[in-house]
Amino acid sequence: MDVLRVVNLGIEVSGKKILQNVNLYIQQGQTFVLFGPNGSGKSSLLSAIVGHPSYRIYDGRIMFKGKDITNLSTDERIRMGMGIAFQNPPRVSGVKLIDILKHCARISGQSEEKVYEYAEMLNMVDMLNRNINSGFSGGEIKRSELLQLLVLNPDFIMLDEPDSGVDLENISIVGDAMRELLERDKPAEKRNKAGLIITHTGHILKYVDADYGVVLYKGRIACIGNPYDILEHVAKYGYEGCVKKCLRKLNSNRK
């Protein structure tokens, strides 16, 4: 079953078109990695899927669990089972991490013990009573985002650069959290979670064995394939080279 169906999606921000004709189908149990150079629209795609009000859909639609969610608010999408970890979440002064986790636990129905268990796992117990993201280091922000998702327990998980700025000491913790979220340690047929992960460098593939790679280039999906092959091509030929190669392949397939 397709958990997410992005159909012919066109997105504009302040009147400027930034995504065009995007099609993406993700099934239960599948994890996709989203590649693309800076400014290619990766974060915009995630923002549109989760319903950020600044990202206006001018074309196409988004289906989630078989339902058209194009006009639903962000919180409604979350309560349907979506979750997102942001790259640069804002500070919210006076709102503590623990307050948000309690909200997340209420929505997912997870117990308070579970909240502390995950906090322990992510080495965040000392941060629980701190104002969210206020004075957090880059790595602490990533761990806090993943912690919130673990408590929220969504069925479809979007991660925007979850490993950037994480120090060596914590990288395996972050990797474990991602695998737990996406059920990557379970055999493929037993996985129910689906995911879409943005990566810049591809390092994430060391911790999460994704099923597919997608290249977003100049606001369009240019390539879908084996994530390791894509990573290798990008490393060798750069994005432009990779996209050309990919397009040639697509064209030859069509013939």
Partner: protein, 366 residues
């Protein structure tokens, strides 16, 4: 132990509704003044004295040196009004005592045109005391004025925490006139919470700090349509190494707020910081922040920060991405805005202030 205060049921109900704690188990002493009448002031307790100011002036000859010492009777037209015909309380923590349980002091405006109050609070040398003052008006009182003179005397190494929670009504005008003299090594913490409607609150309490003394002023203001609040705090750093912090959080939802602050540095090694933040929730109303720093000595460290804005959309979106509805997110952000970290504030007071915020929380966002 203190005794239960006898009050008319409707007065008691209103006071309890606005958060006043009248049960004797939770307070070391309680005082209630309804209009000009001191209804109850409790008896002698071991470490703290609480009584009507008139009774105290009769009892203690020395008290006349304290009355009108920190505030001058000719300061303005309102102080002049309170020179004669006043009532109020006298609270004193005896030397080297620590009054663990707070003292409750309430004023209730029921039927008079002008309630005039003169309070004297003395924290004697080495003592520690917490006073919570709730002020309320009777439901349906169309108009009235409360003029309150409060003089605080924090003696050497004493610590006085004064928390005032106002619950007036749309027709009431309030003119407190307060000043504190904080002696060597003393600590004065003043917290002010105004979340309910009022016609006008205007005050500019001042603390005069001697050597090594500390003052912390904090205020949380929520101004609705029809409310005007002109509120400041002033610290005069007169003694070497004295320091002051002034923190304010103002929210306008149609009402007007002038948030003032003034720190004067007059002695070596003094330190003062002023933090003034405002949140605009409506296209009506205004917030005008006026932070002032004044140095009269070279070796001073004075700073201020002021910021006014609306609720950031990216913060609302962030909380919604965790499943909070827009209203829940807005209310959590407003609530968070009102959280002030006050150094040295006892836990129960933090809870007390949280309780006051919770009581109006449902009205804040919507």
């Amino acid at each position: 132990m203190s005794e239960e205060i006898e009050l008319e049921p409707e007065v008691r109900k209103r006071l309890e509704d606005v958060g006043a704690e009248l049960s004797p188990e939770k307070r070391s002493a309680s005082f209630v003044q309804v209009d000009q009448e001191v209804k109850f002031s409790l008896n002698w307790l071991e470490d703290v004295e609480v009584m009507g100011i008139k009774q105290a002036i009769e009892k203690y000859d020395w008290l006349k040196d304290y009355v009108w010492k920190a505030v001058k009777p000719d300061q303005d037209e309102y102080t002049k009004l309170a020179v004669e015909d006043f009532n109020g309380y006298f609270i004193r923590a005896l030397p080297n005592t620590k009054v663990e349980i707070p003292v409750e002091a309430c004023f209730y405006l029921r039927g008079v045109k002008r309630q005039k109050v003169h309070n004297v609070i003395v924290a004697d040398e080495g003592s520690e005391i917490n006073i919570i003052s709730g002020c309320a008006s009777h439901p349906g009182v169309a108009s009235g004025m409360h003029i309150g003179i409060s003089e605080f005397f924090v003696k050497k190494d004493a610590k006085l925490t004064f928390t005032m929670i106002h619950s007036w009504d749309a027709g009431i005008e309030v003119r407190p006139r307060s000043a504190a003299i904080v002696e060597e090594g003393g600590v004065f913490i003043s917290n002010y919470v105004l979340l309910s409607p009022v016609r006008l609150v205007q005050m500019y309490p001042t603390a005069y700090l001697k050597e090594n003394a500390t003052a912390i002023f904090s205020s949380i203001i929520f101004a609705r349509d029809g409310s005007r609040v002109d509120l400041g705090s002033r610290a005069v750093l007169e003694g070497e190494n004295s320091n002051a912090d002034i923190l304010s959080r103002s929210i306008s939802k149609g009402g007007g707020v002038i948030a003032r602050g003034h720190i004067v540095g007059k002695a070596p090694n003094v330190k003062g910081h002023l933090e003034c933040r405002g949140l605009m929730l409506s296209e009506r109303g205004y917030i005008h922040a006026i932070p002032e720093l004044e140095a009269k000595y070279p070796n001073v460290d004075l700073s201020h920060e002021a910021a006014i804005g609306k609720i950031a959309e990216d913060e609302i979106f962030y909380l919604m991405s965790r499943g909070l509805t827009r209203d829940e997110a807005t209310s959590a952000i407003i609530r968070g805005f009102m959280e002030i970290e006050i150094k040295g504030l006892p836990d129960f007071l933090r809870k007390e202030i949280d309780r006051a915020i919770s009581m109006v929380e449902s009205e804040l966002a919507l």
